[in-house]
Amino acid sequence: MVTKAETKKSEGDEKETGEAHAYTPGLKVKKSMTVDKTRRLPILGVVFPKVGDRVEYNEVIARTEISGDPEILKVAMVLGVEAEDVPRFMLKKLGDRVEEGELIAYYSALFGLIKKRVESPVAGTIESISEITGQVIIRGAPIPVEVDAYIPGTIAQVMPREGAVIEANAAFIQGIFGIGGETHGDIHMMTESNDQALEADMIKPEHKGLVLVGGSLITLDALKRGVEVGVSAIVCGGVKHQDLTTFIGEEIGVAITGQEEVGITLIVTEGFGRMTMSQRTFDLLREFEGRRACVNGATQIRAGVLRPEIIIPHEAKAEGSEEALSSGMVPGTPIRIIRQPYFGAIGKVHSLPVELQQLESESLVRVVNIELEDGRVVTVPRANVEIIEE
């Protein structure tokens, strides 16, 4: 049987073996770092604070108005006249303001025996009267749009008429997947250890408004209970696919989330299925128990990856630079395996063979040898590990 390795081998294939850092960047789990949040209006408007101002998480920092929804009225059809005659029967002209229910066009014939009227279904402004289609468009009142600060901090930069960048010192934890949008709440640990599941009967009325941290799994009943009680957010290691589907009411097709209206924000730190939460994440959350967290489940896994986040603002700044960029893998680099057969296992880079190696699947790829916590050395593709950023 012919395998790929034995067939067409161009210089291009040779090159693919020369990639330097084939790994997935790890998720950030930082005790202290400077977090920048850019808050932007969808269209130009007014920005209130100036550079150096202190803002609170729920403070409105920018406001604008988007034009109201248009309402299209088929005036010619309702009046039973030709499109080109519509202007003659209009009681309002272009730019006029109209109220809901106000008469805007009127037609009578046969000495008043036939009367036809068009009333505006909305309050707004006459934007167009067409002699070609006989349609009249009424533009509804402008819709206000506001942007709040989301995290408490200092205004580091103002983009005139667009928004601002807020800076704060905080603990910063990224999840792998989430649902639900921005919310806030005090952190509360629900399980003793990172491998315990968060069950429904553990959630009590006093958990209302909190950010609950579970261990390895959140069950469907616990999610429902969280909504019932009014929990702000739940953070846990894993969730079952079927439970999430039932909870949201539909299957997740592509990972662009954050807009779900399910009454709670959920952040999964490891993946789908029962997954022990990384010890480092669990310990960090425990350290900040009782502190207020800003949480966002929005996830977008495409170019320009957006991961769900937990931001816990605090004043204790870390010493030294925490923001050194990962330099890739070298022997000793702590890593986590992110695919079967060793999914979730943590270890250290043992060695990085240069030659391509054949996997069980018969693919020839670059691999990394990893020394697991139990001392075993295993071989996995470089694409299947992520660096644990320390």
């Binding site: 790929k4 269209i43 997947f177 299925g273 170019a303 699947s361």
Partner: protein, 611 residues
Amino acid sequence: MANLKKPTEEMKFIIATDVGSTTTKARFFHIKDGEWRFLVAGEAPTTVEAPYEDVTLGVQNAVREVEELTGHKLLSPEGSGIIMPYDGEKGVDLYCTTSSAGGGLQMMVAGLIKSMTAESANRAALGAGAIVMDVIARDDGRQPYQKIQRIRSLRPDMILMAGGTDGGAGSHVMEIAELIKAAEPKPRLGVAYELPIVYAGNKSLRTEIENLMKTGFALQMVDNIRPVLEVENTEPARRAVHELFMEHVMSHAPGYQKLMQWTDIDIMPTPAGEGMAMQLIANSYKQNVLGVGLGGATTNVYSVVDGRFVRSVSANLGMSYSVTNVMKEAGLDNIMRWIPFNLDKEEVASRLMNKMIRPTTIPQTLEDLIVEHSVAREALRLGLQHHRTIATRLKGIQLQRTISDMFEQAVAESYVEMMKIAICAGTGGLLSHAPRRVQAMYILSDAWLPEGVTRMFQDSVFMMPHIGVLSTVYRDAAWSIFDKDCLVRMGTNISAAGTGKLGEHCMTVELDMPNGDHRKEELNFGEIRIVELGERDEAKCKITPAKEFDVGAGPGKERETTVSGGVAGIMMDARGRPLYMPENESQRKELLLSWFRSVQLYDEKKLEALI
């Protein structure tokens, strides 16, 4: 516009790139002994997002890899571009690129009637390489306010509007135009520029359209896409889309102004380049082609049937970012039906969800590979299903029906019939990186169910877009590289259409092998078998189907032809069309395993361990 530094016949080195959404891929070509060949590849992450926001950085990194591998200097100092022309020592004579970074070209399409002008406009936009976000039509079943809400929520790069035949009634077309205007759509890339709109509708409304759209839009008018009902004329609209893509969309994407100055030919959307490559196959072999680009996020299907080129894009069918959407659309049961051993459904679903959230991981175990291959079959199947809704006969025309048609339930909507397809071609990571070449051929056969005699091709190291864009200015070089270094000939599929009873005779295949041997293969219904035949070898072939089966000459009729070999060989498929799959689970698994074993799809020992 092409602005070549040298006449093509004097060229010595060419570099082409594809700026993908995650990776920028450079391919370096050279003429040696009068023959254009692929030399080396370089790849680097695309730099369209913050903090870089300049695609040329990724292009330089990819090209630098080529420099390092070849020692051939290509980059001019201080990031000012590519050295051109080749001076005997450094540089290239031509640089061209495709791009799909930042989500590619995203369009909204509008027309009057959903199945007529809107459908034609949709085909034109897809043919230009766009992702069509929505198709608005007067009869699309939505209320005007719903259409307005939808348009307001979209942020397209461009709108293509069609509607009406030339000289026909105009007020309904104007209603659609007024609706679009009232919705005030905003362009995706920044609020600072006017949204491009191409009008390809009723010519007699041009003045009214201009009056309505002159503010707030960058309007361009082209010939009607359906001047009369019987004619579809998508080319002018497609060209206009491409021009506006360069002028408005590309120039607003980060770094593209610079990249446009570096290239000798207009930047082309990646799917448009891939489509060109598919057309190159069709033109060179003078046969009908069905091709696919099975990517991580999207699946593009291309058909060239009787000279008509159509592309479809299934924006959310793919093998990494969109893998769970395949599960959603196909249903988990349809994925599971390709797996010949016991595996818990929730486990498979969780694995796919985990692939989606960590899209760059690859299968390490055979079990995982088989799961991915199962998903690929469904993505390909759904991609073709979608393609058939785009590649349709023109509607709104009275069909000439023969007596025999009258006995059929209905005339098929799509003209893409597998018996008419002579070549299937595939590109994309999963197909190109399949550990055994036979896997790509087998998966494509399972998903698309070719009928009769079909040659199967595959892209070697992902360079179809590069070849496609190159073919627009230098066809001979493009074909030479394509033929020798890009197209992997997987072999030929011989499939009998029809259905029968398991174990009963289906067809006899006789092959006159290049070494003089005469082989006679008897296939019973439910069997699949491979005969090895080298990549550049051919064999005379006589296929005799049983009376219920058709191999292209009609039911039960013998067919004589020449078949071409490949890295997999000649695949003789008597599993039926539609594919026979027992409903009983254990029988299905048993049959699947017998097929896998017959074509040596996977390592036998490892497969055995999974059962």
